[in-house]
Symmetry: C2
Amino acid sequence: MKYKTIVSAVIMAMGLVSVSSAEEPIQVIKPVQNINLAQVELGKKLYFDPRLSKSGFISCNSCHNLSMGGTDNIKTSIGHKWQQGPINAPTVLNSSLNLAQFWDGRAKDLKEQAGGPIANPGEMASNHTLAVDVLQSIPGYVREFQLVFGSDKINIDNVTQAIAEFEKTLVTPNSRFDQWLLGKKDALTRDELAGYELFKKSGCVGCHNGPAAGGNSFQKMGVVEPYKTSNKAEGLAAVSGKDADRFKFKVPTLRNVEMTYPYFHDGGAWTLTEAVDIMGRLQLGRKFSQKENSQIVSFLKTLTGDQPSFLMPILPPSNEKTPRPHPFD
Amino acid sequence: MKYKTIVSAVIMAMGLVSVSSAEEPIQVIKPVQNINLAQVELGKKLYFDPRLSKSGFISCNSCHNLSMGGTDNIKTSIGHKWQQGPINAPTVLNSSLNLAQFWDGRAKDLKEQAGGPIANPGEMASNHTLAVDVLQSIPGYVREFQLVFGSDKINIDNVTQAIAEFEKTLVTPNSRFDQWLLGKKDALTRDELAGYELFKKSGCVGCHNGPAAGGNSFQKMGVVEPYKTSNKAEGLAAVSGKDADRFKFKVPTLRNVEMTYPYFHDGGAWTLTEAVDIMGRLQLGRKFSQKENSQIVSFLKTLTGDQPSFLMPILPPSNEKTPRPHPFD
């Protein structure tokens, strides 16, 4: 009994220490602010519209599925004609908090990112001209672009702007960890708090910090020990051209990490237990005990926030003028 | 002016004749009644869950996309590893009104249908044992099955029951045509009413009748002239074994037909204009003039009802016990 009392006191003290969440290395996710709601509603339709792909089958939501943590939950994504993608699809949730987009940061923001997969032959396999032609043929879209952008002439700039604006709404506030940060001291269990302390003390927060617990720096995958993978991605070096940037990847957000398996740029780890173990050994030179690992995992699961909640969009139909999909050629 | 007055009087008279919608060959779609809402909510998750497929990528909604009229809007569907499906995906909208499911009627109801694609090697390519194992590994599902069916032991019978119950909610009442049937005489334009009259008088209603304007009989494709297609589907004969049933297909519903392109079992017609022309010639031996065709098409577009409106479901995450998806083998 006495032991439990002491432990409780220690936990309460830990709680008190972090009354001000600004002092914590991970900060609360703020709800969406300053949003152009008309762009959001249009962007939501575009995000779900497979007609942006050559096949008419693949939409943004195919690989960044908002029913599943904004990912596809497979190692590397499936593209046009079932091509195997080169890298794990990062979650779109809270991606507005990233310092840049893609694992190698090759797009500076969500808008630039949104244009990528549409025209990537291994992903949606369309091109910007065709995608715009498809939308321009559909009166329902033309009217909405007119309303939102003041012009009935659709262009890829407005398309990606609308998609990006929708994606900005995909933040996940109100996780139990955030509730704790905001003062609800019983929001976390003893094990979860112990896991958070371990997460801080052992150095995980060195990279996984800020509101997204990641997404704000590029770091080398395999600091203490090299990471073994058959995946060919080079990371930031592919963008910067610097040899020193080889295997540097954007640190993934840990928000909603329970939902965004498998982990790492190659999707090499299926479970949080495995991911925590590998990160400990390769990045920190530390072998977490089973208990430590389990505590960190239980902390990580407190980072699951309110998932985006919205009505499934209804897409305006194509017509005789709409360029047809070509799924099989 | 006088001519217009006469036309208006004729139209008004036509309206008066059909004051009682029971006298019309097409009746109103009724809103959903007698639904098990708990099963619906569970079924909605399952409908959107790609973990029912081997790849982890294909869900019911992939080919019966509720953003796009409950179809995939391609000629024949894309299955596991991008296999080309043998037949056009029929809409799931109002499918509870069908006398049987699939083009050849091989499933007697929605529940029986729901089990088909999961285990079809060319579609979702899983099997019922694996699909149930996946769901049984996920605590979020186990709890919900327990709540809904009173047992924490999941079986395929309950899985397909829940999916079917969700699908029963996918009716589309309140189309402009239904508003007209219910007495709102200005709900249809002059051309739309003329199109409906033509649709009745020329015999289209012989097959496209009832609340779904179809779905309630099997009819031969190509009565007056044979239908030319490279598609190998045999229709009802594949189920009945009777030679007389060759090329007999379930008459598709015309509800929301503006959204369910391309048309026919082989997806051979991309536009309503083309479909109406072919149907007129092959089924009725009648070549509709351009004006007649256009009037019928404008009538058909009044059959688009309120699309199902619901929050995008959030799926419970997999864990270390969940059988992994196998997209590439």
